[in-house]
């Protein structure tokens, strides 16, 4: 409080400077008058009395200054004067100002843009209250299931609900696609079935209407719907009277009871939520891990405490239900961290790269400022001679650099509005909705505060560096000297060190950028083993109530395949459960091999399960290695068969001869039928994040029909031109079927790695900027040194030095600095690329050829940057330069 008052006091003194000054004058006048009167009273003449009083008082002006100092006016006043001075010097040399502000703005802007992503994706992916106490809960079966497969068995959830002491609330949900019937048309929409307490766990209340009640979790009482805000706006025009009305979902009538607020979109932006009503039989199921679960920790319970409690819980279940629960570990992870496995390394790498760009920019600017300081030596010496202390000079320099960095910060903020929008729009909307927080990428308060802090911090540190660099001015010596000033050896060393650091940062950034771009290139070609060109994909989901048995499902899809295959221009039509590049992991299953149980219990073999129609392998041009693929003879009545991937064959039948062997899904005692392996096909990489191809078991669709499949068509011309024909075929079979996810496979492949592509582009930009900045740095220091040495060069030339010697002299300096920088940078770059390779698996690997290439490139750039100043040195006329002072 005291502090605040005294600041106000100072400001008052500053703004009412005249009034305060007058008051001080009056006060001192009064004193002197009294003193004069006092002396006059004892008989001095008026003249004498006045002289005596002034003598006794001392230097009036000096004490006035001390009074000002005491009131604290001076510091602010001199700061303003310094800022004014800084502004004037900036205006006087606009070239320098523009270059330095732009360089800094580039560095600061890069950081602001990347931080806006870090802020949205890592720090605030969701806007839920008390986000850190929300956790995902699932059962880990000890096989690599990918992050999509985090499920829990319904009966285990019931046990966990009734017995846990760590969760305030535990809720479950499942995605569900619906056919929304509106005015005779059926539209496919994505919804979510949720427990009645779902919204309570998030502690959100509806924007209108009500939430679900516990009674609505009963089958039969569950025909109520809560709409998402977006779907309410899009489909119902934001009409508040929709509450209480009914809609048709998959042919059943549902009543609208609530609307959620705008920013609630968990688990992904779905259109609506319905109650998750499980039958008693489904509720008691312990074999299928079928539910997603989410919980809120009790206040005061940490994640690790909850983890320990869950470990105890899983052990108890393992003892009680060894048949189903052996080897299952109930696991939890903070909601915020669910996607960290992808986002954290990527965005931290980007932020680090942006930080490096800023460091480079700072080194460049420091070099520019230091160079200017040489020219200003006389001014500084004059200031010192007139009594400016080191602190006062420091204030001058810091206020100047703060001025640059502030201007740069403002420029960066202005630019970041555009760059952040570009970043946000750079990824297809259909894809980004799966990345929580992506829509939140914007320049908000956090980003502004971050940018301003970075700008001011940079300005302050640069100013401080300038102070340290120009300390110990000797006015006596400097003022006596003629010429533009000299550079001491120590100072030249500092500036050389800055160039070395720039070369170092540049190499590291280039290598990081190169590795990322190379990784992206590899990712783009990662989807090997199939040909995505000229393939159309369409997702189809049959409603449960009208397609209740396998015969109906099979009939629909057989008609669909026949209908689409007969379209002219369609070469192959087929079905698959999970097409490549879907960004969804395939279902994983254990399997048992017939014959000797060669594998230990802990090595229960597992594989991805795919269900495919006969033409699938031809549609994607997946090669057949041994045996045969499915045919129409593999129907529901014929022998059960399977096709496996080459990777699976090599792993489990390393000596070959997999066809003919029998496997079955599940453990030894499972009731699944034995499948005879009839063929081996080439490996297909499912998604970009899979470190390698996984073993895959394909089952024929006719033997295990599924309601949700993806239709793939290989066409002879542009695949998108077949969309309406496919629609017509589907409508002819069943009017009530909705089509989703219509896209060409090629585009799907490109979209699926969009985020990595953006990263590659950003890193590429950073690398180019780094190269440009460091070559500018080398150029700046060398031309400076040539200018300094004009005299010396003149003497050398006069004494008979050849242009070649001069070229060697100047270029030698450039190469020496670059070499030192590279010697330091190469081990750093190797270490950093190793770290990157381990963090961003499957994307980055250490590449020494690239390292060598960039090292050579930097040498070339240094040579180029040194050549211009060297040419200038050769062009020196000895007569002119010797006269030049």
């Amino acid at each position: 409080m005291r502090r605040l008052q005294s600041i106000f006091h100072r400001l008052r003194n500053l703004f009412h400077k005249d009034a305060v000054e007058r008051e001080t004058d009056q006060e001192l006048c009064f004193h002197l008058e009294r003193q004069i009167a006092e002396h006059a009273a004892v008989g001095m003449s008026p003249e004498e009395a006045r002289r005596a009083a002034l003598l006794e008082f001392g230097g009036v002006e000096q004490f006035k200054e001390e009074c000002r100092e005491a009131r604290g006016v001076n510091r602010i006043e001199s700061l303003l004067a310094d800022l004014r001075y800084g502004f004037r010097t900036l205006r006087k040399s606009p070239g320098f100002a523009v270059v330095s502000v732009l360089t800094l703005a580039l560095g600061i802007g890069a950081n602001a843009a990347i931080f806006s992503m870090v802020n949205a994706l890592l720090l605030h992916p969701y806007s839920f209250r008390n986000l850190d106490s929300l956790v995902r809960v699932w059962e880990d079966r000890g096989i690599d299931e990918g992050y999509d497969a985090r499920y829990i068995a319904p009966a285990d959830v019931e046990d966990l609900r009734s017995s846990n002491g760590v969760f305030e609330g535990l809720t479950t949900y499942n995605y569900q696609s619906f056919g929304l019937g509106m005015e005779g048309d059926v539209q496919p929409i994505l919804g979510c079935r949720v427990s009645a307490n779902f919204f309570d766990v998030f502690a959100v209340s509806p924007a209108a209407g009500r939430l679900f009640v516990a009674a609505e979790e009963q089958p039969g009482a569950d025909q109520v719907v809560i709409l998402s805000y977006g779907s309410w706006q899009r489909r119902f025009g934001g009409d508040p009277r929709v509450l209480g009305k009914t809609i048709s979902l998959n042919g059943r009538v549902y009543t609208l009871v609530g609307i959620m607020p705008k920013d609630f979109d968990y688990p992904v932006p779905v259109e609506l939520w319905v109650p998750l009503a499980l039958t008693p039989g489904e509720k008691a199921d312990r074999t299928q891990l079928s539910l997603n679960a989410l919980a809120r920790l009790k206040p005061g319970i940490t994640v690790s405490q909850a983890g320990a409690a869950l470990a105890g819980f899983s052990h108890r279940l393992e003892r009680e239900y060894p048949r189903t629960n052996a080897g299952r570990a109930t696991t939890l992870l903070q909601l915020r961290k669910e996607l960290y496995v992808f986002t954290l390394p990527l965005f931290l790498l980007l932020q680090a790269a942006a930080g490096f760009v800023l460091l480079l920019a700072c080194a460049n600017l420091a070099n520019l400022v230091f160079a200017r300081m040489i020219g200003r030596q006389r001014e500084i010496a004059l200031r010192a001679a007139l009594g400016a202390g080191r602190g006062r000079l420091g204030q001058l320099f810091i206020s100047e650099t703060l001025l640059y960095s502030f201007a740069a910060g403002v420029a960066a903020i202005v630019a970041s509005f555009a760059s952040v929008r570009a970043l946000r729009n750079s990824i297809p909307a259909g894809w980004t909705k799966w990345v929580p927080g992506w829509d939140g990428i914007r320049v908000d308060g956090n980003v502004l505060a971050f940018t301003i802090l970075v700008a001011l911090g940079v300005g302050f540190l640069l100013g401080l560096a300038t102070v340290l660099h120009t300390s110990r001015v000797e006015p006596n010596k400097t003022l006596k000297e003629t010429g533009t000033g000299t550079v001491t050896r120590a100072k030249r060393r500092v500036r050389n060190a800055l160039v070395v650091a720039q070369v170092m940062f540049a190499l590291i950034l280039l290598v990081c950028a190169g590795l990322t771009i190379q990784g992206f290139g590899r990712l783009a070609s990662v989807y090997q083993g199939f040909e995505p060109a000229s393939v159309l994909r369409v997702e189809i989901s049959l409603p449960k109530n009208s397609y209740s048995d396998k015969v109906k499902i099979n009939n629909f899809y057989q008609q669909l395949l026949r209908g689409t295959a007969s379209l002219s221009g369609v070469q192959h039509a087929s079905l698959i459960t999970n097409p490549p590049a879907s960004n969804i992991d395939s279902e994983t299953t254990f399997f048992t091999m017939e014959g000797p149980a060669a594998l230990k219990a802990s090595e229960v073999p597992s594989a991805d399960l795919q269900i495919a129609s006969p033409d699938f392998f031809d549609t994607l041009k997946i090669s057949s290695i041994v045996g045969r693929v499915f045919s129409d003879r593999d129907g529901s009545d014929s022998a059960r068969v399977a096709v496996i991937s080459r990777g699976m064959a090599n792993r489990f039948w390393p000596k070959g001869g997999a066809p003919g062997h029998r496997i079955k899904l599940g453990p030894q005692d499972s009731t699944e039928p034995w499948l005879t392996i009839v063929g081996v096909v080439g490996d297909v990489r499912q998604n970009w994040w899979n470190p390698s191809t996984r073993p895959v078991i394909y089952k024929p669709f006719a033997q295990v029909p599924q309601r949700s499949m993806t239709l793939l068509l290989r066409t002879s011309s542009n695949p998108t031109s077949y969309i309406s024909a496919v629609r017509d075929v589907v409508r002819k079979i069943d009017l009530g079927i909705a089509l989703r996810g219509i896209n060409t496979l090629e585009e799907e492949v490109a979209d699926s790695i969009a985020i990595v592509r953006i990263m590659g582009i950003l890193m590429g930009i950073f690398g180019v900027v780094a190269l440009a900045l460091s070559s500018l740095g080398v150029y700046g220091v060398l031309s400076e040194s040539v200018a300094q040495r004009t005299h010396e060069i003149g003497i050398r030339l006069a004494l008979g030095a050849k242009p070649r010697d001069l070229l060697k002299l100047i270029l030698g300096q450039a190469l020496k600095l670059t070499a030192i920088g590279l010697v330091i940078a190469v081990p750093c770059a190797v270490a950093i690329s190793r770290a990157m390779a381990s963090l961003i698996f499957g994307v980055v690997s250490v590449d020494f050829a690239m390292l060598g290439g960039f090292t050579a490139l930097l040498f070339l750039v240094a040579l180029g940057a040194g050549y211009l100043p060297a040419r200038r040195a050769i062009g020196v006329d000895p007569m002119v330069s010797l006269r030049y002072e």
Binding site: S6, E23, Q26, E27, F30, R34, Q35, G58, V60, A70
Partner: protein, 109 residues
Amino acid sequence: MSKPTDLVQGTLDLLILKSIALAPMHGWAIAQRIRHVSKDVLQVNQGALYPALHRLEQQHWITAEWGESENNRRAKYYSLTKSGKKYLQSEQANWERLSAAIGLVLKRA
């Protein structure tokens, strides 16, 4: 002979605070009072008094108010604030302890 400005650092503040403890005073009167009370031993450098007053005001130990002087002129009167009173008490106690201790050493050692 020592000059009055050689007063121990901070002592001038103490003298000013003590002088205006009873009634508000203007600068000239403070200087006079210190001289009179100390029987002309302590002669405050008159000019140096004002920076000290302004500093004490900045620190909120004293406040200033313009008033009518004894010869009917406008003068700036200084008086103690609440925190100034507390500060004076603690500083006076400190000073007494210190001078007593120095006295002891000078007598006994």
